[in-house]
Every structure is written in C-alpha cells, then in structure tokens.
C-alpha cells in the first residue's frame, strides 16, 4: 500500500488515456473496415468490366462450317486498354478445349467453376501469375450454337493489378489522413477539456499550499465543482477537529503552567519565611517537603497523561491480565491502606485478559485505587473487583467515601478539577478516561446508595475482552 501511495496515479493521464486510447482504437478499426469495403467495391467494379470484356469477346465468336471462328478487331482490345495503364490479355479455347486465339501462354483454366455466382453467367474470377506479374483473371464459358455445332467455348480475360492497387493505395492514404486528423482533433479536444476540468483541483492545491500552518479556517467551497465539494468538506471537518484539539492543548498548557506555578509560589513563601526567621526552620522544611511532594505528583501525573496521549503504533499493545495488574497495584498501595487501617478486599481470582499496555492499566488502576483510599475514612472499607461479564472485562473500585456532588459530577474528567486542591493533581480521572478510551472501553463513576443512604462511590471501568489466549 505504501508503494501505491508513493506513485500516485495522475487523474489527467488517466482521463486522457481513457478518452484517447479507445477512440483511437475505434478509429483504426473503422479505417481498416472502410478500407476493406472500398477494396471490395473496387474489385467488384473491375471484375464486372472484366466480365463485360469476356462477354464482348464471346459475342464475336462465330460458327463457320462446324468450326469456331473468332474475329477480334484490334479496336475491341483497345477499349479495354486505352482507359488506363493496365495491360489486358485474353485467350480463347475452342469447343474442343484447345487454344483458339489470343495469348497462348496465358495459363489455361483448370479450376472448378463456383456453384453459385453473383453473375448470370458461368464465370470465375481469380488471381494468377502471368509473365512475372500478378493478374486478375476472368474465365467465362460461352455457349456457342450453330449448324452442327453446340458447345462451350472458354474465354479468359486477364488484367494486370496495377490500376486496382493504385486506386486502393490512394484510397488507403486518403483514409489514413482523414483518420489521423480525427485522432489529432480528439487528442487536442480531450487534452483541453481534461485540463479545464482539473483546473479547480490545481486551484485547490494552490490555496491549501499557500496557507500558513496557523490558518485553520475552512477552505472556501464557492465555485468548486460538485465532485470536489465533499473532499473540501472532509478537509474542513478535519481542520475543525484539529482546531478543537489545539484549543484543548493550549488550554491544558495554560492550566498546567498555572498548576505548576502554585506549588512553586508556596515553596517560595515557605523558603522566605524560613530564611527570615519568621518561621522555625524544621517545621518550615517539613512544609516545604510536602509542597515539593505535591509538585512532584503533579509533574508525574502530567507526564503520565502526556504518555497515554502519545502512544503510537511503534509501541504495540499486548495481552495483559487485568487481575494481575490489580494485584500488583494493590500491593504497591498497601502501605497507604495499612496507614489508614482500611478493610481492603481484592476479588480477582481468575485471569481476565485484555489487550493494552501494562503501564497504562497500572496507571488507571493506581489512580482509581488511590482516589478510593484518599476518600475513604480510616477503618472503613475499600474493595477492588476484577471480573468478566458478557461483553467486557470489568474493573470496579468501591470506596466508602463521600461520593460525588452534582457540581463535581459536571466537571468530573476535566483536567485540574480536583476536589482536593492541596493534594490531588486534578489529572487522575483525566488519565483514567484517556486510558479507558484508548483501549476502546469506558469509565463511569457513580454514587452507591442503599435505602436512600449514600454508601460511597463505585468507579467502574469496562474494557473489551481480549480474544481468549488461554
């Protein structure tokens, strides 16, 4: 496919070839046909005159005392001869089949008369060689009836082919000239038409090339032919999406810089207080340490989000056991749960394979479990379930925290909308959603109630199954 893309086919060449080649072929075939028909007509006409000559000679046959006599005036031959440069020969065989008159070396007729003929006579036309030339021959059986005489005389008349060939050649050249002119006209017209038809394409190309990379405004569709409108429409749609994405990214960079500046500002104040002696050194340093940890978490989360967004084909996904990932993340976060004395439960008994990047699934699980641990009061319960349902691999994190308020709900997955401005980075759920979507799945956060009493929050991620590899 890459090869085909490297050598794109030219629309112009395609159109020109598609118009000119069939027309040229048709014209050539037509010329051949016309030439053949013309040649046939010439042959027929000349054959008729040959037959007329033979008949004329036949008329001159006379019976005299039981024998055949011919009295061929020289003028009779001149009639045939005078008109053109071709030479005529004749030969007459008598009733006994023996040479009677004319050119004795003209080859005797030995062929079979055709059963059917276009002429009302016993005549046969054929080609033969005579005196080193190709001749057209008419052989006519002429009935002769007289006193005591009844029979057939054979009259052969031959004519050299020069005239016919000359005529045919002239006809051929004439035909070729006319057809060549026709083809030339077709090529010129097709070229002009194709060029004009493709003009808007070149215009569009010029317009797109001339654009600066900052100009994402729609390409004008006015004056474009109907066929190009959907192309331009698609380009404009892409530009709209790119613009929206750039907008999001600009917003993110603005927000991120602001978010990073906040801990730095805090740090600066804390350091100043410490240096000036307004605050005691050790507690100040402890505060600064906490502030730095906050900045580190933020930077790590931003990196994680960028990494999820920038996964490309060169880093192909593999089959990962979601249960195993959940187990490892739970082990990693166990100190936090131990510190809060949380009653933790993991339900991930059987392997649940999904296709993805292990580190992404780890980020997803870690963020959700981390949120659950943070929201849940000490000695309450947090649980992590991994299972397979009919269509999905399901990861469910349950906490016993305060759940989500309506306002939190409205901006749930937006970056930097943290419910804990002093702790969270505000990116955790954005990462979770990005990972879920990347893997073709979904994420939902819903408050859990029993008898109208809020029990906590359920974070449920559904991912497509991996085709069974076990």
């Amino acid at each position: 496919m890459a090869r085909a893309a490297a050598r794109p086919h030219s629309l112009r060449r395609y159109l020109l070839a598609g118009i000119v080649i069939p027309i040229t072929l048709f014209v050539i075939m037509d010329a051949i046909g016309a030439y053949r028909r013309a040649l046939e007509a010439i042959n027929t006409a000349y054959d008729r005159s040959l037959l007329a000559s033979a008949r004329y000679i036949g008329e001159l046959l006379q019976t005299e005392g039981g024998t055949l006599k011919v009295d061929l005036p020289y003028a009779a031959l001149e009639i045939f001869d005078a008109s053109n440069s071709s030479r005529m020969y004749y030969r007459i065989n008598g009733l006994d089949g023996k040479f009677l008159s004319g050119y004795p070396d003209l080859p005797d007729y030995t062929r079979q008369m055709p059963a059917r003929s276009a002429y009302a006579a016993l005549v046969d036309f054929y080609e033969a060689d005579f005196r080193g030339e190709r001749v057209r021959m008419a052989a006519l059986y002429q009935p002769v009836a007289g006193q005591n005489v009844l029979g057939m005389a054979l009259i052969q008349v031959a004519e050299t082919r020069d005239v016919r060939e000359q005529l045919a050649r002239g006809l051929l050249i004439d035909t070729l000239l006319r057809e060549a002119l026709l083809i030339a006209i077709v090529i010129v017209v097709a070229w002009v038409v194709v060029r004009r038809a493709l003009q808007p394409v070149y215009g569009l190309r010029r317009e797109v090339i001339a654009r600066s990379e900052h100009d994402l405004s729609p390409v004008a569709t006015k004056g474009l032919p109907m066929e190009l409108q959907p192309v331009v429409g698609a380009i404009n749609e892409l530009m709209r999406r790119v613009q929206r994405m750039i907008g999001h990214q600009r917003q993110f960079v603005r927000d991120a810089s602001h978010q990073l500046r906040t801990p730095l500002a805090v740090l600066k104040l804390q350091a100043q207080n410490g240096l000036s002696g307004d605050a005691e050194a050790i507690p100040t340093l402890a505060q600064m340490h906490a502030t730095v940890d906050r900045a580190i978490r933020l930077a790590n989360q931003m990196l994680a989000l960028a990494k999820v967004e920038q996964v490309h084909e060169q880093d192909p996904p593999s089959t990962v056991d979601l249960s195993e990932v959940a187990r490892e993340v739970a082990l990693d976060l166990s100190p936090l749960m131990g510190d809060k004395d949380l009653a933790f439960e993991l339900q991930a008994d059987s392997p649940v394979p999904v296709v993805g990047h292990e580190w992404m699934l780890r980020e997803l699980t870690r963020n959700l479990l981390h949120n659950a641990i943070r929201e849940t009061p000490a000695r309450a319960a947090v649980s992590l379930h991994v299972r397979r349902d009919d269509q999905h691999a399901v990861l469910c994190v349950r906490d016993e925290g305060p759940g989500l308020s309506a306002t939190q709900r409205a901006h749930l997955f937006e970056p930097f909308r943290t419910g804990h401005p002093n702790e969270g980075s505000g990116l955790g759920l954005a990462i979770c959603r990005e990972v879920s979507q990347r893997m073709g799945g979904s994420i939902a956060l819903d408050n859990r109630y029993r008898d109208g009493v809020l029990l906590g929050l359920d974070a449920v991620v559904r991912l497509p199954w991996a085709a069974d590899s076990t």
Binding site: I296, A330, L331, S334, M337, G338, E345, L346, A348, D349
Partner: protein
C-alpha cells in the same frame, strides 16, 4: 565505601553528596561524561551513580563504553526522563539499577545498599525491625521489646517475609511458598490459620498483622 557521582546539575549533585556522606559513603563528583569514563577506567569506585543527560558524552554512552571496556563497577542510572523505554534502555545498556528523579534520599540509600549487596553480599544489616519487633538475622530469632518472641517455625517464616518490607503487603501466594515450602497437599487457606495465631501473639504489642483480603498480609507498627 567509595561512590562516583556523575551529575551535571550542581545543586542536585551537592544535595546528593551531602546526604550520602552523612550516611557514610565517600562521594567523588564529576560533571562530564568523558571524565566519568576516565575515572571508571583508572580509579574504579565501589559503585557509580550516573545521570543520563550529561554534557559531552551522554550517560547511556558512558554506560555502553564502560561495559564494553569490561568495567564491572555496579552502576545505578539516575534520570528525570522516567519513561519506560529509557528504563529498559538503561538496564539493557548494563545498568544495575535505575532510579527516576525526583527520588527520596532514603530510597536512594536503600537502593545503593541493595545494589552493593547483590554484587558483593557483605553489606547486610544484622537486624530488621518493625516498631517494637526485631529480627536477629543470624539466629533468626524474633524479639518483641527486647524479649524473645515464641513462634513456631511456620510463624517465623511468615514473620520473616513480612518484616523484610514493613508496612508493605506481601502477596498470599508468595507467603504460602515461604511458609509451606515443598508441600503440595496443603490447602491454600492454611496460611490464614498461621496468620491468625501470629496475630494473637502480637496483639497489643504495638505491631500488628493486617489482612488484606484476597491480596495478602502486611506487618505494621501501630501509630503512637
């Protein structure tokens, strides 16, 4: 213990040096890749900490060349890049360990000691503690507030595995292998019985054994 610290950020290098010298290491600093390679060749330290982004020759190149020259000083890569790809690259290039920046100084020390232990095997601490609970490594005996704790061999194996990482859960499967080595006909749940007895022995002592259902167990000193 001689450490070569290859780091071009002055403030970072200084902070690491102060911390590690306080913890008993001799630290030599160097800010250039080529200089680092020369030192590794001519005055090989006991271990080296190597930043990846360096002027002149970058850390990965230093690592490649050093290993190609047959220098087998244990080397830990320190970097702010932190991506999985860099980590694999570093370890493939012959690094012994990889620590992404920013890191905790205690973590750094622990990783350096672990790295040296893996290579040399001498720098092992004699005791492990978690709150009032102490394990004497040589004898394998446990002490609770300096008094010997009476434990069965299975309880001892469980406790040993847990005290190696206090505050951190250890997976049930791993504990099962440690507590019931080579036994195939024992129910998986038997580990719960051992943990239950041990928890009773530790009750009220200031250190607790916490169950993480479906996951494993965790040993933790109770907050004061």
């Amino acid at each position: 213990m001689n450490l070569l610290l290859v780091e071009d950020d002055e403030a970072m290098a200084q902070a690491i040096q102060i911390a590690l010298e306080r913890r008993g290491f001799d630290v030599t600093r160097c800010a250039h890749g080529s200089e680092a390679l020369m030192r590794l060749r001519h005055q090989p330290p006991d271990a080296a900490l190597l930043d990846l982004t360096l002027p002149g020759m970058d850390g990965l190149q230093v690592l490649h060349k050093a290993r190609a020259d047959g220098i087998d000083v244990p080397i830990m890569v320190l970097t702010a890049r932190g991506a999985v790809g860099d980590r694999v690259l570093g370890l493939n290039a012959g690094a012994d360990d990889y620590l992404p920046k920013p890191f905790d100084l205690d973590e750094l020390e622990a990783r350096i000691r672990a790295m040296l232990r893996r290579r040399g095997g001498q720098d092992e601490e004699a005791t492990l503690t978690c709150g009032p609970l102490t394990l004497e490594r040589n004898s394998g005996a446990f002490y609770l507030s300096a008094r010997p704790l009476d434990v069965t061999p299975r309880e001892q194996a469980l406790l040993k595995a847990l005290i190696a990482r206090p505050g951190h859960a250890v997976a049930k499967e791993k504990l099962f292998r440690v507590v019931f080595p080579m036994e195939t006909d024992i129910q998986f749940e038997a580990i719960e019985v051992v943990a239950y007895r041990l928890r009773k022995k530790l009750a009220g002592s200031g250190v607790s054994l916490i169950t993480m259902r479906g996951l494993g167990y965790l040993l933790r000193s109770d907050p004061a």
